[in-house]
Protein backbone atom coordinates (compact mmCIF):
# COMPACT_ATOMS: atom_id res chain seq x y z
CA UNK A 1 0.00 0.00 0.00
CA UNK A 2 1.47 3.31 -1.04
CA UNK A 3 1.83 6.11 1.45
CA UNK A 4 -1.03 8.52 1.69
CA UNK A 5 -3.65 6.05 0.51
CA UNK A 6 -6.92 6.87 2.23
CA UNK A 7 -9.48 4.44 3.61
CA UNK A 8 -13.21 5.02 3.82
CA UNK A 9 -15.22 4.72 7.04
CA UNK A 10 -16.32 1.25 5.83
CA UNK A 11 -12.84 -0.26 5.40
CA UNK A 12 -13.23 -2.61 8.38
CA UNK A 13 -16.50 -3.91 6.92
CA UNK A 14 -14.75 -4.72 3.62
CA UNK A 15 -11.93 -6.53 5.41
CA UNK A 16 -14.39 -8.57 7.50
CA UNK A 17 -16.17 -9.58 4.29
CA UNK A 18 -12.86 -10.72 2.76
CA UNK A 19 -12.90 -8.15 -0.03
CA UNK A 20 -9.95 -7.84 -2.37
CA UNK A 21 -8.71 -4.28 -1.85
CA UNK A 22 -7.02 -2.17 -4.54
CA UNK A 23 -5.77 1.41 -4.73
CA UNK A 24 -8.18 3.62 -6.70
CA UNK A 25 -7.93 7.41 -7.07
CA UNK A 26 -5.86 7.61 -3.89
CA UNK A 27 -8.23 5.38 -1.94
CA UNK A 28 -7.96 1.82 -0.69
CA UNK A 29 -11.17 0.34 -2.15
CA UNK A 30 -12.82 -3.09 -2.52
CA UNK A 31 -12.64 -4.30 -6.14
CA UNK A 32 -14.62 -7.45 -5.44
CA UNK A 33 -15.98 -9.60 -2.61
CA UNK A 34 -17.09 -12.90 -4.21
CA UNK A 35 -16.59 -12.22 -7.91
CA UNK A 36 -17.30 -9.47 -10.42
CA UNK A 37 -19.77 -11.42 -12.56
CA UNK A 38 -21.75 -12.63 -9.53
CA UNK A 39 -21.92 -9.10 -8.13
CA UNK A 40 -22.89 -7.60 -11.52
CA UNK A 41 -25.76 -10.07 -11.77
CA UNK A 42 -26.86 -9.41 -8.18
CA UNK A 43 -27.41 -5.75 -9.12
CA UNK A 44 -29.24 -6.58 -12.36
CA UNK A 45 -31.54 -9.14 -10.73
CA UNK A 46 -31.80 -8.18 -7.06
CA UNK A 47 -29.91 -5.48 -5.12
CA UNK A 48 -26.28 -4.60 -4.45
CA UNK A 49 -24.54 -2.17 -2.09
CA UNK A 50 -21.44 -0.19 -3.07
CA UNK A 51 -19.20 1.84 -0.80
CA UNK A 52 -18.89 5.12 -2.71
CA UNK A 53 -17.58 7.12 0.24
CA UNK A 54 -14.50 7.99 -1.81
CA UNK A 55 -16.60 10.35 -3.96
CA UNK A 56 -16.53 14.05 -3.08
CA UNK A 57 -19.53 15.68 -1.38
CA UNK A 58 -19.59 19.47 -1.37
CA UNK A 59 -22.17 21.86 0.02
CA UNK A 60 -22.42 25.12 -1.95
CA UNK A 61 -24.55 27.72 -0.20
CA UNK A 62 -25.29 31.41 0.03
CA UNK A 63 -27.39 34.00 -1.80
CA UNK A 64 -25.24 33.74 -4.90
CA UNK A 65 -25.00 29.93 -4.95
CA UNK A 66 -27.39 29.22 -7.84
CA UNK A 67 -25.90 31.91 -10.10
CA UNK A 68 -22.38 30.76 -9.17
CA UNK A 69 -23.12 27.13 -10.12
CA UNK A 70 -24.89 28.23 -13.32
CA UNK A 71 -21.75 30.12 -14.33
CA UNK A 72 -19.49 27.09 -13.83
CA UNK A 73 -21.64 24.07 -14.76
CA UNK A 74 -23.37 23.06 -18.01
CA UNK A 75 -26.90 22.22 -16.85
CA UNK A 76 -29.50 24.78 -15.69
CA UNK A 77 -29.21 25.15 -11.92
CA UNK A 78 -31.70 28.04 -11.52
CA UNK A 79 -34.37 25.78 -13.04
CA UNK A 80 -33.90 23.10 -10.35
CA UNK A 81 -36.68 22.86 -7.79
CA UNK A 82 -35.74 22.26 -4.17
CA UNK A 83 -35.55 18.47 -3.64
CA UNK A 84 -34.40 17.73 -7.19
CA UNK A 85 -31.05 17.18 -8.82
CA UNK A 86 -29.50 16.83 -12.26
CA UNK A 87 -26.47 15.40 -14.03
CA UNK A 88 -24.08 18.13 -15.14
CA UNK A 89 -20.47 18.96 -15.94
CA UNK A 90 -17.80 21.42 -14.94
CA UNK A 91 -16.21 22.60 -18.18
CA UNK A 92 -13.08 24.65 -18.83
CA UNK A 93 -12.71 27.62 -21.22
CA UNK A 94 -11.77 25.24 -24.07
CA UNK A 95 -14.99 23.29 -23.53
CA UNK A 96 -13.18 20.27 -22.06
CA UNK A 97 -14.74 18.42 -19.15
CA UNK A 98 -13.12 19.09 -15.77
CA UNK A 99 -15.49 16.60 -14.17
CA UNK A 100 -19.00 15.19 -14.45
CA UNK A 101 -21.08 15.86 -11.37
CA UNK A 102 -24.54 15.69 -9.87
CA UNK A 103 -26.03 18.90 -8.47
CA UNK A 104 -28.95 18.63 -6.01
CA UNK A 105 -30.89 21.64 -4.77
CA UNK A 106 -31.34 20.92 -1.06
CA UNK A 107 -32.54 24.43 -0.14
CA UNK A 108 -33.40 27.64 -1.97
CA UNK A 109 -29.78 28.78 -1.54
CA UNK A 110 -28.12 25.44 -0.76
CA UNK A 111 -26.79 22.77 -3.12
CA UNK A 112 -25.21 19.36 -2.70
CA UNK A 113 -22.59 18.68 -5.38
CA UNK A 114 -21.31 15.09 -5.74
CA UNK A 115 -18.03 14.78 -7.68
CA UNK A 116 -15.61 12.03 -8.73
CA UNK A 117 -13.05 10.85 -6.17
CA UNK A 118 -10.20 11.33 -8.65
CA UNK A 119 -11.21 14.97 -9.23
CA UNK A 120 -12.41 16.02 -5.77
CA UNK A 121 -9.40 18.21 -4.99
CA UNK A 122 -9.22 19.69 -8.50
CA UNK A 123 -12.95 20.52 -8.44
CA UNK A 124 -12.80 22.07 -4.99
CA UNK A 125 -9.87 24.28 -6.02
CA UNK A 126 -11.66 25.30 -9.25
CA UNK A 127 -14.88 26.16 -7.42
CA UNK A 128 -13.06 28.11 -4.68
CA UNK A 129 -11.08 30.08 -7.31
CA UNK A 130 -14.34 31.28 -8.86
CA UNK A 131 -16.44 31.76 -5.71
CA UNK A 132 -17.42 35.30 -4.80
CA UNK A 133 -18.37 36.75 -1.42
CA UNK A 134 -21.95 35.48 -1.55
CA UNK A 135 -20.98 31.83 -1.88
CA UNK A 136 -19.72 29.38 0.71
CA UNK A 137 -18.24 26.01 -0.17
CA UNK A 138 -17.96 23.31 2.50
CA UNK A 139 -16.39 19.91 1.94
CA UNK A 140 -18.53 17.39 3.77
CA UNK A 141 -16.71 14.33 2.36
CA UNK A 142 -14.65 13.48 5.45
CA UNK A 143 -17.55 13.71 7.91
CA UNK A 144 -19.78 11.33 5.98
CA UNK A 145 -19.85 8.02 4.17
CA UNK A 146 -21.86 7.25 1.04
CA UNK A 147 -23.45 3.98 -0.01
CA UNK A 148 -25.16 3.23 -3.33
CA UNK A 149 -27.97 0.65 -3.17
CA UNK A 150 -28.80 -0.44 -6.71
CA UNK A 151 -31.02 -2.99 -8.42
CA UNK A 152 -34.68 -3.86 -8.93
CA UNK A 153 -35.08 -4.63 -5.18
CA UNK A 154 -32.92 -1.71 -4.00
CA UNK A 155 -35.70 0.73 -3.12
CA UNK A 156 -37.54 -1.82 -1.04
CA UNK A 157 -34.38 -2.99 0.76
CA UNK A 158 -33.08 0.53 1.49
CA UNK A 159 -36.62 1.60 2.48
CA UNK A 160 -36.94 -1.29 4.95
CA UNK A 161 -33.63 -0.35 6.58
CA UNK A 162 -34.53 3.34 6.81
CA UNK A 163 -38.14 2.62 7.85
CA UNK A 164 -39.49 4.76 4.99
CA UNK A 165 -41.23 4.06 1.73
CA UNK A 166 -38.84 5.49 -0.85
CA UNK A 167 -41.03 4.97 -3.93
CA UNK A 168 -42.34 8.54 -3.75
CA UNK A 169 -38.90 10.01 -4.26
CA UNK A 170 -38.62 11.02 -7.93
CA UNK A 171 -35.66 10.04 -10.12
CA UNK A 172 -32.82 12.47 -9.23
CA UNK A 173 -34.83 13.55 -6.19
CA UNK A 174 -33.21 14.13 -2.80
CA UNK A 175 -34.74 13.80 0.68
CA UNK A 176 -33.56 13.93 4.31
CA UNK A 177 -34.41 11.48 7.05
CA UNK A 178 -33.43 10.80 10.64
CA UNK A 179 -31.97 7.34 11.20
CA UNK A 180 -30.41 6.20 14.51
CA UNK A 181 -30.38 9.86 15.65
CA UNK A 182 -28.37 10.75 12.57
CA UNK A 183 -29.09 12.99 9.58
CA UNK A 184 -29.28 10.90 6.41
CA UNK A 185 -29.47 12.19 2.79
CA UNK A 186 -31.19 9.91 0.27
CA UNK A 187 -30.77 10.57 -3.47
CA UNK A 188 -32.61 8.54 -6.09
CA UNK A 189 -29.61 8.26 -8.38
CA UNK A 190 -27.02 5.70 -9.37
CA UNK A 191 -24.39 4.62 -11.83
CA UNK A 192 -25.57 1.14 -12.79
CA UNK A 193 -28.53 1.56 -15.13
CA UNK A 194 -30.80 0.15 -12.40
CA UNK A 195 -33.20 1.89 -10.05
CA UNK A 196 -31.86 2.66 -6.61
CA UNK A 197 -30.60 5.25 -4.17
CA UNK A 198 -27.33 6.79 -3.05
CA UNK A 199 -27.34 7.46 0.67
CA UNK A 200 -25.08 9.85 2.57
CA UNK A 201 -24.69 8.97 6.25
CA UNK A 202 -22.51 10.43 9.02
CA UNK A 203 -19.29 8.46 9.57
CA UNK A 204 -20.45 7.31 13.03
CA UNK A 205 -23.44 5.33 11.72
CA UNK A 206 -22.11 4.35 8.28
CA UNK A 207 -20.98 0.84 9.35
CA UNK A 208 -24.38 0.25 11.04
CA UNK A 209 -26.17 1.29 7.87
CA UNK A 210 -23.95 -0.95 5.72
CA UNK A 211 -24.54 -3.98 7.99
CA UNK A 212 -28.30 -3.33 8.06
CA UNK A 213 -28.38 -3.36 4.25
CA UNK A 214 -26.51 -6.68 4.12
CA UNK A 215 -28.84 -8.10 6.78
CA UNK A 216 -31.75 -7.08 4.51
CA UNK A 217 -30.28 -9.29 1.78
CA UNK A 218 -28.40 -6.65 -0.23
CA UNK A 219 -25.23 -8.08 -1.82
CA UNK A 220 -21.94 -6.21 -1.21
CA UNK A 221 -20.44 -5.20 -4.58
CA UNK A 222 -17.01 -3.81 -5.44
CA UNK A 223 -15.55 -1.40 -7.96
CA UNK A 224 -15.16 -4.21 -10.53
CA UNK A 225 -18.91 -4.77 -10.73
CA UNK A 226 -19.52 -1.02 -10.56
CA UNK A 227 -17.35 -0.50 -13.64
CA UNK A 228 -18.93 -3.39 -15.59
CA UNK A 229 -22.43 -2.10 -14.74
CA UNK A 230 -21.68 1.47 -15.82
CA UNK A 231 -20.14 0.28 -19.12
CA UNK A 232 -23.25 -1.85 -19.74
CA UNK A 233 -25.36 1.23 -19.02
CA UNK A 234 -23.23 3.35 -21.40
CA UNK A 235 -22.28 5.84 -18.66
CA UNK A 236 -19.04 7.78 -19.10
CA UNK A 237 -16.22 7.76 -16.54
CA UNK A 238 -13.77 10.61 -16.13
CA UNK A 239 -10.34 9.47 -17.35
CA UNK A 240 -11.93 7.12 -19.88
CA UNK A 241 -14.71 8.67 -21.99
CA UNK A 242 -14.33 12.22 -20.73
CA UNK A 243 -11.47 14.42 -19.56
CA UNK A 244 -10.21 17.98 -19.75
CA UNK A 245 -9.46 17.57 -23.48
CA UNK A 246 -12.80 15.98 -24.48
CA UNK A 247 -16.00 18.03 -24.54
CA UNK A 248 -19.69 17.20 -24.27
CA UNK A 249 -20.31 17.34 -28.05
CA UNK A 250 -18.11 14.36 -28.93
CA UNK A 251 -19.04 12.54 -25.72
CA UNK A 252 -22.75 12.74 -26.67
CA UNK A 253 -23.55 14.59 -23.44
CA UNK A 254 -25.27 17.66 -24.89
CA UNK A 255 -28.49 16.53 -23.18
CA UNK A 256 -26.84 17.76 -19.96
CA UNK A 257 -25.83 21.12 -21.42
CA UNK A 258 -28.23 24.08 -21.35
CA UNK A 259 -27.09 26.48 -24.08
CA UNK A 260 -30.02 28.87 -23.46
CA UNK A 261 -29.41 29.70 -19.80
CA UNK A 262 -26.82 32.41 -20.39
CA UNK A 263 -23.05 32.30 -20.37
CA UNK A 264 -21.01 29.73 -18.47
CA UNK A 265 -17.34 28.74 -18.57
CA UNK A 266 -16.80 26.75 -21.77
CA UNK A 267 -20.03 27.79 -23.49
CA UNK A 268 -18.31 29.55 -26.41
CA UNK A 269 -16.05 26.59 -27.16
CA UNK A 270 -18.95 24.13 -26.92
CA UNK A 271 -21.07 26.29 -29.27
CA UNK A 272 -18.18 26.35 -31.77
CA UNK A 273 -17.65 22.57 -31.52
CA UNK A 274 -21.32 22.08 -32.30
CA UNK A 275 -20.98 23.98 -35.59
CA UNK A 276 -17.97 21.99 -36.80
CA UNK A 277 -18.03 18.64 -38.54
CA UNK A 278 -17.52 16.08 -35.75
CA UNK A 279 -13.97 14.73 -35.43
CA UNK A 280 -15.07 11.78 -33.34
CA UNK A 281 -18.13 10.36 -31.65
CA UNK A 282 -18.47 8.23 -28.55
CA UNK A 283 -20.23 4.99 -29.48
CA UNK A 284 -21.09 1.61 -28.02
CA UNK A 285 -19.26 -1.45 -29.36
CA UNK A 286 -20.22 -5.12 -29.15
CA UNK A 287 -17.57 -7.82 -29.67
CA UNK A 288 -18.31 -10.92 -31.69
CA UNK A 289 -16.70 -13.10 -29.03
CA UNK A 290 -15.55 -13.24 -25.45
CA UNK A 291 -12.46 -11.07 -25.86
CA UNK A 292 -12.63 -8.14 -23.44
CA UNK A 293 -11.94 -4.72 -24.97
CA UNK A 294 -9.62 -2.57 -22.82
CA UNK A 295 -8.93 1.16 -22.70
CA UNK A 296 -6.40 2.17 -25.36
CA UNK A 297 -6.99 -0.68 -27.82
CA UNK A 298 -7.06 0.78 -31.34
CA UNK A 299 -9.97 0.46 -33.78
CA UNK A 300 -9.45 -0.07 -37.48
CA UNK A 301 -11.23 -0.08 -40.81
CA UNK A 302 -8.94 -1.92 -43.21
CA UNK A 303 -5.57 -0.10 -42.89
CA UNK A 304 -6.97 3.07 -41.36
CA UNK A 305 -7.00 3.67 -37.62
CA UNK A 306 -10.49 5.07 -36.98
CA UNK A 307 -10.71 5.19 -33.22
CA UNK A 308 -9.80 4.04 -29.72
CA UNK A 309 -11.51 2.02 -26.99
CA UNK A 310 -12.14 4.09 -23.85
CA UNK A 311 -13.68 1.39 -21.60
CA UNK A 312 -14.51 -2.27 -21.94
CA UNK A 313 -16.22 -4.99 -20.00
CA UNK A 314 -17.45 -8.54 -20.21
CA UNK A 315 -21.24 -8.50 -20.16
CA UNK A 316 -22.82 -11.65 -18.72
CA UNK A 317 -26.21 -10.86 -20.31
CA UNK A 318 -24.81 -10.96 -23.85
CA UNK A 319 -21.96 -13.36 -23.01
CA UNK A 320 -19.43 -11.24 -24.86
CA UNK A 321 -17.16 -8.24 -24.60
CA UNK A 322 -18.63 -4.73 -24.91
CA UNK A 323 -16.99 -1.34 -25.00
CA UNK A 324 -17.31 2.36 -25.45
CA UNK A 325 -14.90 4.18 -27.69
CA UNK A 326 -14.30 7.23 -29.82
CA UNK A 327 -14.79 6.50 -33.53
CA UNK A 328 -14.22 8.91 -36.40
CA UNK A 329 -17.14 9.56 -38.77
CA UNK A 330 -18.39 7.94 -40.94
CA UNK A 331 -17.46 4.77 -39.00
CA UNK A 332 -19.56 5.81 -35.96
CA UNK A 333 -22.85 4.98 -37.69
CA UNK A 334 -25.06 2.37 -36.02
CA UNK A 335 -24.77 -1.04 -37.62
CA UNK A 336 -21.25 -0.45 -38.92
CA UNK A 337 -18.29 -2.62 -38.00
CA UNK A 338 -14.77 -1.81 -36.90
CA UNK A 339 -11.82 -4.10 -36.17
CA UNK A 340 -10.14 -4.01 -32.74
CA UNK A 341 -6.43 -4.79 -32.53
CA UNK A 342 -5.69 -7.10 -29.58
CA UNK A 343 -2.06 -8.23 -29.35
CA UNK A 344 -1.75 -8.09 -33.15
CA UNK A 345 -4.99 -9.93 -33.86
CA UNK A 346 -8.11 -8.28 -35.28
CA UNK A 347 -11.47 -8.78 -33.59
CA UNK A 348 -14.69 -7.48 -35.11
CA UNK A 349 -16.85 -5.05 -33.15
CA UNK A 350 -20.34 -3.90 -34.07
CA UNK A 351 -21.15 -0.20 -33.60
CA UNK A 352 -24.31 0.61 -31.63
CA UNK A 353 -25.49 3.64 -29.65
CA UNK A 354 -23.99 3.42 -26.15
CA UNK A 355 -27.49 3.48 -24.64
CA UNK A 356 -28.15 0.13 -26.31
CA UNK A 357 -25.20 -1.73 -24.76
CA UNK A 358 -27.47 -3.03 -21.99
CA UNK A 359 -30.00 -5.51 -23.31
CA UNK A 360 -33.54 -4.85 -22.05
CA UNK A 361 -34.59 -7.43 -19.47
CA UNK A 362 -36.03 -10.49 -21.15
CA UNK A 363 -34.60 -9.58 -24.56
CA UNK A 364 -33.23 -12.51 -26.52
CA UNK A 365 -29.42 -12.54 -26.49
CA UNK A 366 -28.38 -11.73 -30.06
Amino acid sequence: MSEGTMSTCLVDEHRTLGARMVPFAGWNMPVQYKGIIEETQAVRNHAGAFDISHMGRLIVSGRGAAAFLDALTTNHVAALEVGHGHYSMLTNEAGGIIDDIIVYRIGQDEFLVVVNASNAEKDLTWLRQHAGAEVEIADQSGATGMVAVQGPDALEAAGSVLGRALGGLPRFGVAFYEWRQAHVTVCRTGYTGEDGVEVIVPVAVAPLFWRALLAAGVVPCGLGARDALRVEAGYPLYGHEIDDEHGPVGAMLMWAVCMDKGDFVGRGAIAAARQEAPKERLVGLVASGRVVPRQGYTLWSADECVGTVTSGAFTPTRGCGIAMGYVRPPHHVKGGCVQMDVRGQRHELRVIPKKELLLPKGAPAA
Binding site: Q32, G35, I36, G224, R290, F314, Q345
Partner: protein
Protein backbone atom coordinates in the same frame (compact mmCIF):
# COMPACT_ATOMS: atom_id res chain seq x y z
CA UNK B 1 -4.61 -21.84 -2.19
CA UNK B 2 -3.98 -25.28 -3.69
CA UNK B 3 -0.44 -26.18 -4.79
CA UNK B 4 -0.45 -29.90 -5.63
CA UNK B 5 2.65 -32.02 -5.11
CA UNK B 6 4.11 -33.65 -8.19
CA UNK B 7 3.72 -30.62 -10.42
CA UNK B 8 6.40 -28.08 -11.27
CA UNK B 9 5.83 -24.34 -11.18
CA UNK B 10 7.17 -21.15 -12.76
CA UNK B 11 7.62 -17.75 -11.14
CA UNK B 12 5.15 -16.42 -13.72
CA UNK B 13 2.48 -18.66 -12.12
CA UNK B 14 2.23 -21.45 -14.69
CA UNK B 15 2.25 -25.10 -13.62
CA UNK B 16 3.75 -28.04 -15.54
CA UNK B 17 2.72 -31.70 -15.43
CA UNK B 18 5.31 -33.95 -17.12
CA UNK B 19 4.37 -37.27 -18.73
CA UNK B 20 7.34 -38.72 -20.62
CA UNK B 21 8.44 -35.97 -23.07
CA UNK B 22 5.16 -34.09 -22.96
CA UNK B 23 4.51 -31.15 -20.62
CA UNK B 24 0.94 -30.13 -19.82
CA UNK B 25 0.72 -26.44 -18.86
CA UNK B 26 -1.85 -24.28 -17.12
CA UNK B 27 -2.04 -21.44 -14.62
CA UNK B 28 -1.96 -21.96 -10.87
CA UNK B 29 -4.77 -21.68 -8.36
CA UNK B 30 -3.04 -18.57 -7.00
CA UNK B 31 -3.02 -17.01 -10.51
CA UNK B 32 -6.68 -17.75 -11.22
CA UNK B 33 -7.68 -16.35 -7.81
CA UNK B 34 -5.73 -13.15 -8.46
CA UNK B 35 -7.31 -12.75 -11.91
CA UNK B 36 -10.90 -13.48 -10.91
CA UNK B 37 -13.55 -14.68 -13.38
CA UNK B 38 -11.73 -15.80 -16.54
CA UNK B 39 -13.71 -15.00 -19.70
CA UNK B 40 -11.30 -15.41 -22.61
CA UNK B 41 -8.25 -17.50 -23.48
CA UNK B 42 -5.90 -16.56 -26.29
CA UNK B 43 -3.93 -19.76 -26.94
CA UNK B 44 -1.40 -20.64 -29.68
CA UNK B 45 -1.96 -22.83 -32.74
CA UNK B 46 -0.93 -26.48 -32.69
CA UNK B 47 2.52 -26.81 -34.25
CA UNK B 48 3.91 -23.54 -32.94
CA UNK B 49 7.43 -23.78 -31.51
CA UNK B 50 7.80 -22.04 -28.15
CA UNK B 51 11.02 -20.91 -26.50
CA UNK B 52 11.55 -20.83 -22.76
CA UNK B 53 9.95 -17.69 -21.24
CA UNK B 54 8.26 -16.72 -24.53
CA UNK B 55 4.78 -15.19 -24.33
CA UNK B 56 2.52 -17.83 -25.86
CA UNK B 57 -0.89 -16.35 -25.18
CA UNK B 58 -3.03 -14.44 -22.75
CA UNK B 59 -5.68 -15.09 -20.16
CA UNK B 60 -8.34 -12.45 -19.76
CA UNK B 61 -10.47 -12.05 -16.71
CA UNK B 62 -13.27 -9.57 -16.22
CA UNK B 63 -10.85 -7.13 -14.67
CA UNK B 64 -7.46 -7.76 -16.24
CA UNK B 65 -5.46 -9.37 -19.00
CA UNK B 66 -2.37 -11.37 -18.15
CA UNK B 67 0.27 -12.78 -20.51
CA UNK B 68 1.10 -16.47 -20.47
CA UNK B 69 4.82 -17.34 -20.42
CA UNK B 70 6.06 -20.66 -21.63
CA UNK B 71 7.91 -22.34 -18.74
CA UNK B 72 9.70 -24.65 -21.22
CA UNK B 73 10.85 -24.86 -24.82
CA UNK B 74 8.87 -27.14 -27.09
CA UNK B 75 6.28 -27.59 -29.79
CA UNK B 76 2.57 -27.16 -29.12
CA UNK B 77 0.94 -30.53 -29.81
CA UNK B 78 -2.47 -29.92 -28.26
CA UNK B 79 -4.59 -26.96 -27.11
CA UNK B 80 -7.47 -27.34 -24.64
CA UNK B 81 -10.45 -26.39 -26.80
CA UNK B 82 -12.83 -27.18 -23.96
CA UNK B 83 -11.25 -24.55 -21.71
CA UNK B 84 -11.28 -22.01 -24.56
CA UNK B 85 -15.05 -22.25 -24.82
CA UNK B 86 -15.80 -22.88 -21.10
CA UNK B 87 -13.25 -20.50 -19.59
CA UNK B 88 -14.65 -20.89 -16.06
CA UNK B 89 -12.82 -24.25 -15.98
CA UNK B 90 -9.63 -22.22 -15.44
CA UNK B 91 -11.18 -20.89 -12.22
CA UNK B 92 -12.94 -24.03 -11.03
CA UNK B 93 -10.32 -26.66 -11.92
CA UNK B 94 -7.01 -24.92 -12.72
CA UNK B 95 -4.88 -28.08 -12.37
CA UNK B 96 -7.29 -30.39 -14.19
CA UNK B 97 -9.87 -29.49 -16.86
CA UNK B 98 -8.49 -25.95 -16.96
CA UNK B 99 -5.15 -26.98 -18.53
CA UNK B 100 -4.17 -24.88 -21.54
CA UNK B 101 -1.53 -26.44 -23.81
CA UNK B 102 0.55 -29.61 -24.14
CA UNK B 103 4.13 -29.20 -25.35
CA UNK B 104 6.51 -31.77 -26.75
CA UNK B 105 9.61 -30.70 -24.86
CA UNK B 106 12.76 -29.91 -26.82
CA UNK B 107 14.94 -28.89 -23.83
CA UNK B 108 13.94 -31.17 -20.91
CA UNK B 109 16.90 -29.81 -18.91
CA UNK B 110 14.86 -26.66 -18.40
CA UNK B 111 12.67 -28.59 -15.95
CA UNK B 112 15.43 -28.16 -13.37
CA UNK B 113 14.86 -24.39 -13.32
CA UNK B 114 11.25 -24.78 -12.21
CA UNK B 115 10.00 -24.71 -8.62
CA UNK B 116 8.51 -27.61 -6.70
CA UNK B 117 5.19 -27.29 -4.84
CA UNK B 118 6.76 -26.17 -1.58
CA UNK B 119 9.01 -23.57 -3.22
CA UNK B 120 6.17 -22.19 -5.35
CA UNK B 121 3.80 -22.07 -2.37
CA UNK B 122 6.29 -19.90 -0.49
CA UNK B 123 6.94 -17.74 -3.58
CA UNK B 124 3.22 -17.16 -4.24
CA UNK B 125 2.51 -16.35 -0.58
CA UNK B 126 5.28 -13.75 -0.69
CA UNK B 127 4.22 -12.20 -4.00
CA UNK B 128 0.64 -11.86 -2.78
CA UNK B 129 1.63 -9.07 -0.39
Amino acid sequence: MATPEGLLYSKTHEWVRVVDDVAEIGITDHAQAELGDVVYLDLPEVGRALAYDEIFGAVESVKAVSDLYSPLSGEVIEVNAEATSATDLVNSDPYGQGWMVRLKMTQPDELQQLLDAEQYGAFAAESAH
